[in-house]
Amino acid sequence: MSTLTVTRRTRLSTVVLILLAPILIALIAAPWWAGRADLRLMGEIALYMSLATLWNLLAGYAGLVSVGQQAYVGLGGYLFFALTMLAGIDPYVALPLAALAGAVIAAPVAVLIFRLRGAYFAIGTWVMAEVFRLSFAQVSALGGGSGTSLSASIVRGMADGRAAREAMAWWLALGVAVLVIGAVVLFLRSRQGVALTAIRDNEVAARSLGIDIWRSKFIVYVVVGGLTTLVGCLIFLQKLRISPDAAFSVNDWTAFVIFIVVIGGIGTIEGPIIGTLVFFALRETMADLGTLYLIALGLVAIVIMLKAPRGLWGFLRDRYNIEIFPLSRRVTGLNKGA
């Protein structure tokens, strides 16, 4: 028998890894080559990519089909406004603080909603989000039901001048996208990630092979809750204005995100990234069509679900057996094939 080794690298993943550095540098340099509107759009793309990656970890891997992730986006927005405006905390300190608070709040929420199964779980997540929305609508210090704006002094304090502020908003969005995608890749490569991938495929077998399913899902829910809160902070830092309806919008922060993950390919890392790019390509080309645009989105979703039920990336991966992010462990040195 020839010597066998186990590796994660594939030729494609090596190429991508080499390309990653120049791409990242180009993206960091975006404020020098991209226009103001483009920079804003790119920031939005980065934040949606983060939301989609997080929702995919939750639903695609842990099987926790939440339709209430707007709870954490809104929580993030409100926490950021509250920490900076009411508590006077430095915005750059408020960001990690809000993420931490989001995770801490997600823990008891998980204990509560994990008692629900299937459709009841989904409904439970939505009810939770509504509870969050109604609660924040009561806080008169944050504008109650009509919301409030981020005070100009805080915005000014983050960077000097408008251009610098816009660059800063982009870098933060890019940084969070890199953090979220990087964290999910590392997580899925870890022991916990192996357990989670097994759970994704077969809970009965996972349980019988020593995996504590509740614990795995709990960890995922709490981490995703914290990171979604962080993304929420940045979304409303970009918007500069918050209201309960915008903050806890099920359309903006969950429905579109589910669309992205489903067309991109649920249960893969690449899926949400590709889905986000497709979503924005559709949105930018068809935005002036009004409601027709929503109908077109629906059509795209239906066609993809019929023709490629595992999404665009799932289709490509099954067809060409490729993987951009090296997760799977391959045995090399086998006599046949390999």
Binding site: R200, L209, G210, I211, R330, V331, L334
Partner: protein, 242 residues
């Protein structure tokens, strides 16, 4: 010899249907015990109760003298009980190697390096090594059964529960399987094996129990049990539809 696994008065009913009826038996350390009985007798259910895939209504299950009846399935696996499923339960979108790797890292708690080594070793013994990089969802039924055995072995069990893994094999393959299980036993693993392929079972086990309607109706040396009236009755019935 001391008991490694012990069932005492274990019962389970689905509604009015009793699928485990006051079952008591022990498995000694290093022993291999065979389980026979007609389809629907409750053999698989008995495994589900031992592994914690099902909770018993009554009775006590002990592993190395410790009561595990209330433990969740995952903890029982980490404590040393591993099983194969009669109806294979692969991680369909993971490769054969990764399926084994899950068992080695989670069930046996090995480090990545140790797990890689164990998985390659086990897959070679079960004849699945060439299929290492194939997605488990693409395997044939027989290959899936081998994967069940491989995964259970990668969990490094002290008690191995095998549920009908010899059906459908050629004579040559069956012979290889028997040798593999004998080798596993040599390493000190205690085995309970449910099997309809009686000659394979008899080549390995020291003792047989017979289950019918959820009840243990006979227990003893394999030859004596196979000659008994109770078994002849059951197997005459079984042969008719086999």
């Amino acid at each position: 010899m001391s008991a490694i696994l012990e069932l005492n008065g274990v019962s389970k009913a689905f509604g009015a249907v009793v699928v485990a009826d006051d079952q008591s038996w022990t498995l000694d350390k290093g022993e291999a015990m065979g389980v026979i009985g007609p389809n629907g007798a409750g053999k698989t259910t008995m495994f589900n109760l031992v592994t914690g895939n099902l909770a018993a209504d009554a009775g006590v299950i002990r592993l190395n003298g410790e009561t595990i009846s209330k433990w969740p399935a995952a903890r029982r696996c980490r404590a040393g009980i591993a099983r194969s499923f009669q109806v294979p339960q692969p991680f369909a979108h993971m490769t054969v190697f990764e399926n084994a790797y899950v068992a080695a890292t989670q069930g046996a708690g090995l480090s990545s390096v140790q797990a890689d080594k164990l998985c390659l070793d086990v897959l070679e013994r079960t004849g699945l090594l060439e299929k290492s990089n194939v997605k488990a969802g693409g395997l044939t039924l027989l290959e899936r059964k081998r994967l069940e055995l491989s995964r259970a072995l990668c969990a490094k069990p002290s008690v191995l529960l095998l549920d009908e893994i010899a059906g459908g094999l050629t004579e040559h393959e069956c012979h290889a399987l028997i040798q593999t299980i004998k080798d596993v036993r040599e390493t000190g693993v205690s085995i309970v094996w449910i099997e309809h392929v009686v000659h394979a079972l008899l080549a390995v086990v020291d003792r047989l129990i017979v289950i019918d309607f959820g009840k243990k109706i006979a227990e003893g040396a394999p030859e004596a049990i196979m000659q008994s009236d109770a078994v002849r009755e059951i197997y005459l019935g079984l042969d008719a539809d086999a």
